[in-house]
Point group: C2
Chain length 372, copies 2
């Protein structure tokens, strides 16, 4: 019986994590549930899963047989075996570091944690002998492909990208994209921020940075390939030219379950299967960096290192927010981020405080940025 | 330095094995070379690789600093580390068993060894703690996908098939197929027998039987999917629905090198790479068992077990030979094999002698079979 604490339990990944937990009642005990503001849903989850610890940033909960605490306390609690970081934005950073310092293994869905502070987080994880298990389809795929292989024999990571809904748009058409159009992702159901990031390919750019930190592979050996069907979730090419790929129908419950069950694999009838009796066509093409500059910007920020990825993250978050509010256009997202990186004065070996300062600086810069 | 004995060194796989050896002169010493009849090529190989042992079934060799012996003696020789079985037909059976009895690891390209005598060979290998490393693209792919995974979590093996040159032919058109047309394989350069077996899908059927014995997976959990580009060489589906696939440009040198280098992976600039900067389309469809009955016949023979797969192999070998001599038509190959299996009186727990007797019986039956 594994005791789980789920941070961000009312979000998309948090809810799907609880679906996986529900399918294996004999294997998991929900030890802690933490949410931001969704008190009604957290209340329902408390009723169903009876956690020992509960954390809510804003809102009011009915009483019950639980103790309240901060997300950091929950992440580091001695009776937690595995901490699921299903928060988003910089919210996951503190609890992740707390969990690592307490020696807890982590299932990490919060992209910004590694993008903003990959060096700090992975150094601390090595120091405390903590395993960071990725929860997203691409890094889970890479992790699965690396299983049983010597990492010294990795030649390239090949991250697949659906290409988003605007794969075939001209730059002119892209200037007219509305929030409504950008929120319709062709293959994945996700939150708003990540859906827009998928449309700009910023999401894929951040995944390059995450992959760099998770697997210790140099940036020049991490490629992105557009694969519209989102069936192959990523690939690893080895020294001998052999490539391993991981495939499954697009459903986050698989990477979640893999991270929770690792190193085991459990049958789960709720997970969809690929149907090989039907004709299937898988296409691959190189991404167009001129129409999707965010991919280039993220890679460059990763290679510059230091506080640049944190500035990228923060500038992008504000830019996406301003786009959703119709304050700036779709193409302005990358322009804003590019200008922010240009203006940023990064520190090369940042502490966590430096990273948070870069984050604050970039948010401020992005909020005041004006389209030309 | 690994000492290799290569049985069938003048055949297609044997020559490519020596190409791999040539790329890693510091890693391998060619200890033995065995061939059937191609004395001139074997002579050249002796000049280049200076083996200690040489075996030639028929023909005359110039003298040199080597000792001659039988293929069985070579396979079991105490100074051999790894035996490459690159022979074809039942010729590989005796040397394989001799190598296993001597405790030598085996790199196996000779399909018929496991198809004819899978139960005997794998039981002996378990007894002597010998590893059978597959050398063909499909089983190498399965083996690579299984690396680091618990075999108890395998749900299905998915073997890919190019579908051969007649994938879209009607049954009527198939009746008219000439040996010349059947020998033009769309993606692989191979010997005649295996090229015709690829066109009838008998080759794929035999691979089901091989996979069953190599990986201990029940027949009902081994599927075949047509994938004309031959880039994904096979896949494994696990209990959680996750699928791992192995990809590489069609080139036998990769599975050969993987089998020789295992568990290592070595860079080799002669091995081709997938070019992800080019647009790539991968298609998959279910095989049509009504137009390609050999696939069904092989699976049925495997499931009946005992001497049935040996009878299938032998009948098919004679049928292909008769087809190449224009003695019977393309569609007669499966008819002959089906009639042979129908007429065969198999023994359920056969000894090697029973298997060889079934082989002889089926050859005789096939030689005398007349088209209706």
């Amino acid at each position: 019986m594994k005791r789980l604490s789920i941070l961000g339990s009312t979000g998309s990944i948090g809810r799907q994590t609880l679906e996986v937990v529900r399918a294996f009642p004999e294997r998991f005990r929900v030890w802690g549930l933490a949410a931001g503001e969704n008190a009604p849903l957290l209340g329902q989850q408390i009723d169903e899963f009876r956690p020992a610890l509960v954390s809510l940033v804003r809102g009011h909960l009915p009483g019950g047989d639980y103790r309240t605490c901060t997300a950091e306390e929950m992440a580091a609690h001695p009776e937690t075996d595995l901490v699921v970081i299903a928060t988003s934005g910089r919210a996951g950073l503190g609890p992740t570091l707390a969990a690592i310092q307490a020696g807890k293994d982590i299932a990490l869905a919060n992209k910004e944690v590694l993008v903003m502070a990959g060096a700090v987080v992975t150094a601390l994880a090595r120091e405390h002998n903590v395993e960071i298990r990725p929860i997203d389809s691409e890094h889970s795929a890479l992790w699965q492909c690396l299983r049983g292989e010597d990492r010294a024999t990795v030649k390239r990571l090949i991250i697949t990208a659906s290409g988003g809904p605007f794969r075939h748009h001209t730059t002119q058409e892209m200037a007219q994209i509305t929030p409504e159009a950008a929120l319709r992702h062709p293959t994945w159901q996700m939150g708003k921020k990540v859906t827009i990031d998928s449309a700009t390919l910023m999401n894929k750019g951040m995944e390059i940075i995450e992959a760099h930190w998770l697997f210790g592979i140099p940036y020049q050996d991490i490629e992105v390939v557009v694969h519209p069907q989102s069936l192959i979730h990523s690939m690893v090419e080895f020294a001998d030219g052999s490539i391993k790929a991981q495939l499954s129908p697009p459903d986050m419950k698989l990477p979640i379950q893999y991270a929770l069950a690792y190193p085991e694999r459990w049958p789960n009838s709720e997970l969809p299967l690929v149907d090989w009796t039907q004709r299937l066509d898988l296409n691959f093409e190189a991404p167009d960096l001129s129409r999707f500059p965010c991919l280039r910007l993220a890679r460059e920020a990763g290679m510059r290192g230091g506080t640049y990825p944190a500035a990228l993250c923060a500038a992008d978050e504000v830019a996406v927010d301003r786009f959703l509010k119709r304050d700036i256009g779709f193409l302005d997202i990358s322009r804003l981020v590019e200008d922010a990186l240009e203006a940023h004065r990064g520190s090369p070996q940042p502490t966590l405080d430096d990273i948070l300062a870069a984050d604050a600086w970039a948010r401020d810069y992005a909020a005041n940025w004006k389209p030309k």
